[in-house]
């Protein structure tokens, strides 16, 4: 297949069909016909307009939630985020001679499994490459085994927490506060995990303390350091962050968590305090920058990490290494155990063609049929990534990223399950196809009815929800059931 043909195929697949988190799929856009990249500045606005070089630039990120790459596979120009772009952004600031201090409010991963553990490690490596100076914890970070956390963060000199620790509070690897010197200024930083989020952690190896009580111990020690600015990285709700800011006015900047996906366009103070509130949004799509000047007001810039920032090569290596690691580990090494599907076993779309020839012909002509192959063409290839393959092959749970018993194993082992096949929407068909070859009419009728419940017998809403298990907001932002259905109608 020539490059153009492949690009078209890839575009079509991401345009119409299977979703994934393989953001590198070379699709132009979800639903857009134009092969040209959109103008990110027109889309998301200019940045740093009218800024002079600040004495210090504080860059805040957080709640990356596992998105080490831009979220979704709907075409890079539609997506924001990813460590590659963030690295380029920070490098650009530094190349301009700006003293930059990067701080992260934690929440590097979401979910609990072996893949998240690997992601956490890669994310930490990425933050270290970007020279982060302080990083807090989110609740899912602390659900990982403490030994694994320790292995990932030991010696990085980035993590900080007033009220959480690996086995103990205030260890060398996770001190209770950090003092950062840059741009001729001293910045005192600590972080807390909010009490509400602490309730989610059932991990005896994690030392926890209520946030307010922990700050009571830490704030006097921070104050002794006589810093120019004090930053509280609060992985806490707005309500709890507000309470902490009121209780500890030492902090002139507080970062909160669990806000909206999109951070605000303006800086605000926490009502009733002098503390400036920072919201960073979700999935690492934005980097919030404060420019601090000697004799001018502080400036604020919400930086959308869109494709105005090129991919940084050093992070690219890290992402390639991540995919390599997934490949080497295999599903088993990732702790993925096939789970039984309530409707039985998978048989592959070709078996459906014995009776449903017309429908099969429609499917075969759509990019759904090539969804697995698509993943082999992207850079780096993603067919070993559970978060991609779960929508790009047949017989996986698309939202929880695990295989069903008899579901897709690999391109070679289960070629009949390559592509997003009939059974992904209609359910496993092994029993149905076997029954049709027998003579038990009652069984045939019962199994036909089960299949019909996902086809002609389904409500439009349930069909739409079925599609949206893959065509979700991240991976198919322009998904419109009526328009998309017309392309695969059968």
């Amino acid at each position: 297949m020539d490059v153009l043909g492949r690009a078209t195929l890839v575009s079509l697949i991401c345009l119409v069909f299977a979703g994934c988190s393989a953001s590198q799929a070379a699709a132009p856009s979800d639903g857009a016909a134009s092969p040209a990249l959109s103008d990110p500045i027109a889309q998301n606005g200019p940045i740093f307009k009218g800024w002079a070089k600040p004495k210090l630039a504080l860059v805040f990120t957080g709640e990356q939630l596992g998105y080490i790459e831009p979220c979704g596979c709907a075409g890079l120009e539609n997506q924001k985020g990813g460590l590659r772009r963030r690295d380029t952004f920070l490098k650009q600031l530094r190349e301009q001679g700006w003293p930059v201090v990067a701080l992260d409010n934690g929440g590097l991963i979401r979910r609990f499994n072996r893949q998240q553990e690997i992601k956490f490690t890669k994310a930490v490596e990425g933050l270290k490459l970007m020279d982060y100076k302080a990083v807090g914890f989110g609740p899912d970070d602390l659900k990982l085994p403490a030994g694994s956390l320790l292995a990932a963060i030991a010696g990085t000199e980035m993590f900080v927490s007033a009220n959480t620790g690996l086995f103990e509070l205030g260890s060398d690897d996770v001190p209770r506060f950090r003092i950062i010197e840059a741009g001729g200024m001293k910045i005192g930083v600590t972080s807390v995990l909010g009490d509400r989020f602490q309730k989610q952690i059932t991990n005896d190896d994690i030392a926890l303390m209520p946030a307010k009580a922990a700050l009571k111990e830490v704030v006097p020690k921070l104050a002794e350091k006589k810093c120019d600015h004090y930053v509280l990285l609060a992985h806490a709700t707005l309500e709890e962050t507000t309470e902490l800011a009121k209780a500890y006015p030492l902090f002139d900047i507080a970062v909160m968590a669990h806000g909206a996906d999109e951070p605000p366009h303006e800086l605000k103070k926490i009502p009733g305090t002098k503390t400036t509130l920072i919201e960073v949004g979700h999935k690492g799509m934005y980097a919030i920058t404060l420019g601090i000047y000697e004799d001018k007001p502080v400036r604020f810039q919400r930086v959308p990490l869109d494709h105005r920032f090129a991919d940084a090569a050093e992070i690219d290596e890290l992402v390639v290494g991540y995919q390599d690691e997934l490949e080497q580990l295999s599903w088993q090494g990732l702790g993925l155990r096939p789970a039984p599907h309530a409707q039985g076993k998978f048989v592959g779309s070709k078996a459906c063609a014995d009776c449903h020839r017309d429908e099969y012909a429609v499917w075969k002509a759509t990019p759904h049929a090539h969804a697995t192959e698509t993943l082999t063409h992207v850079k780096p290839p993603r067919q070993f990534d559970p978060e991609c393959i779960s929508c790009h092959a047949t017989g996986w749970n698309p939202q929880e990223f695990f295989p069903y018993v008899s579901g897709y194993a690999s391109i070679k082992e289960t070629p009949m399950l390559n592509g997003s096949g009939c059974e992904n929407c209609h359910g496993p068909g092994a029993e149905h196809t076997a029954a049709e070859k027998g003579s038990d009419k009652t069984l045939q009728r019962r199994l036909r009815e089960a299949i019909a419940r996902t086809g002609t017998g389904a409500t439009k809403e349930s069909q739409r929800e079925s599609c949206m298990r893959c065509h979700d907001l991240d991976n198919s932002p322009k998904f419109d059931f009526d328009k998309y259905w017309a392309k695969i109608q059968h």
Partner: protein, 402 residues
């Protein structure tokens, strides 16, 4: 670089227009003004809104004045569609005001309808922002950017915010039991909150994975009024107890609850985690299920050196000592211990174990696959009979340089 070229250009221009910008900041026609803060702050595109004013411009020109730039919907039930806010824009100029382009922060959930005809001087146009609530998040903020032909306000921004409420909130939606020590009990809670019903009931529940369901206890406790949060009307705490006896390895279970809430009759909460023995290993390449260190292929001239954090738990580890390691392939593997540190006095000890395959090690395979040599093993004796020796396997192969 493009960004910084732009920045540089703007800095130069900015010097020229500083005075005008300062005046503009006192109150632009859009109502924006600099905040008075100890850390004074600006909007992220303040400069773009306040530069290039030309009060003495002789030609006819439009002037866009937005009556409101942000609207808070307050509480919106999830899965409600086509919520609308009309933002009014008055043309205080002398030429027709046109909206030339628009973009939204979320193409799937936020939509904008612009006036079809230009707004005549003195007239007011309506920009309709529509928002579909279908999200897992509790809060939302979306924005719409609209380009105009007003040279001073060539872009308007409208923001909608609010809180999403659901008939039934489940927190957390997934339970994780990390490092449940084998033979020990662990407990965690799920809180169910009903926002539109004052009588939440769990009418039935079951654990999906029958083979391990007897290791779990489920209890329900209705919440008192004082325990209800965020205007919830009723609630239940579901306590999940992992009983002793689950074997070492991953936990995979799912709790399926049936409720009396019409919109959310079925709730499924996954229960994951792991059960660990008295020894666990911390390393990014440690396989917790199969218990081995995965080093993989090592080039002969490179060698490799890595540290595994050995975490040992017990009741009396204050005087723990480790003996010399017994290595199945001492030619390829070298093992040294770092300093023992008590993470919890007497009960949890950490030992950094350095494993090295020195450069120049003869070619060998310990990949452990079919037809391959077994993985290398390391046994670390201890002075604690109850603990015995600590065993670990290492999967690697020394390969020739390319």
């Amino acid at each position: 670089m493009k960004t910084f070229l732009t920045m540089t250009f703007v800095v130069v221009v900015g010097v020229l227009v500083t005075t005008a910008a300062s005046l503009a900041r006192l109150g632009t026609p859009l109502g924006w003004s600099a905040l008075s803060l100890d850390l004074p702050a600006e909007t992220d595109d303040a400069a773009s809104r306040t530069t290039a004013t030309s009060p003495n411009e002789p030609e006819a020109r439009p002037v866009a004045v937005a009556e409101e730039e942000e609207f808070n919907f307050g509480n919106l039930p999830n899965k409600t569609f086509d919520n609308r806010r009309v933002f009014k824009v008055r043309n205080e100029g002398t030429a027709p005001l046109r909206f030339t382009n628009s973009s939204v922060s979320c193409t799937k959930c936020t939509f904008v309808d612009l006036p079809e005809t230009p707004i005549a001087p003195g007239e007011t146009g309506e920009i309709v922002v529509r928002w579909n609530v279908d999200t897992h998040e509790d809060h939302f903020r979306q924005s719409v950017r609209v380009q105009t032909n007003d040279p001073d306000h060539d872009e308007l921004r409208f923001v909608i915010t609010g809180k999403v409420v659901r008939p039934l909130a489940v927190e957390p939606q997934k339970l994780v039991f990390t490092n449940v020590h084998v033979g020990a009990q662990a407990q965690a809670k799920i809180r169910l909150l009903a926002y539109f019903s004052d009588h939440l009931e769990v009418t039935n529940y079951k654990l999906a994975e029958e083979s391990t369901s007897h290791y779990f206890d489920i209890t329900m406790t209705p919440l008192t009024k004082d325990q209800l949060e965020n205007q919830a009307q009723s609630g239940i705490d579901v306590t999940v107890t992992v009983k002793p006896g689950l074997p070492v390895g991953s936990i995979g279970q799912s709790l399926q609850l049936t409720t009396n809430i019409e919109e959310e009759p079925e709730v499924s909460v996954s229960i994951t985690g792991d059960v660990t023995g008295p020894v666990s290993f911390g390393h990014k390449d440690w396989d917790h299920d199969l218990n081995y260190l995965r080093i993989g292929h090592v080039k002969q001239s490179d060698g490799v050196k890595t540290v595994v954090n050995l975490i040992i738990r017990g009741s009396d580890l204050g005087d723990l000592e480790l003996g010399p390691a017994k290595i199945s392939d001492p030619v390829s593997l070298k093992v040294t211990y770092g300093k023992l540190s008590e993470l919890k006095p007497g009960t949890v000890v950490r030992v950094p174990v350095t494993i090295e395959i020195p450069p120049g090690t003869p070619l060998v395979s310990h990949m452990g696959g079919p037809g391959e040599a077994k993985m290398a093993t390391i046994e670390i004796p201890t002075n604690k009979p109850a603990l015995g020796g600590v065993k670990l396997s290492v999967r690697f192969a020394v390969i020739a340089d390319e």
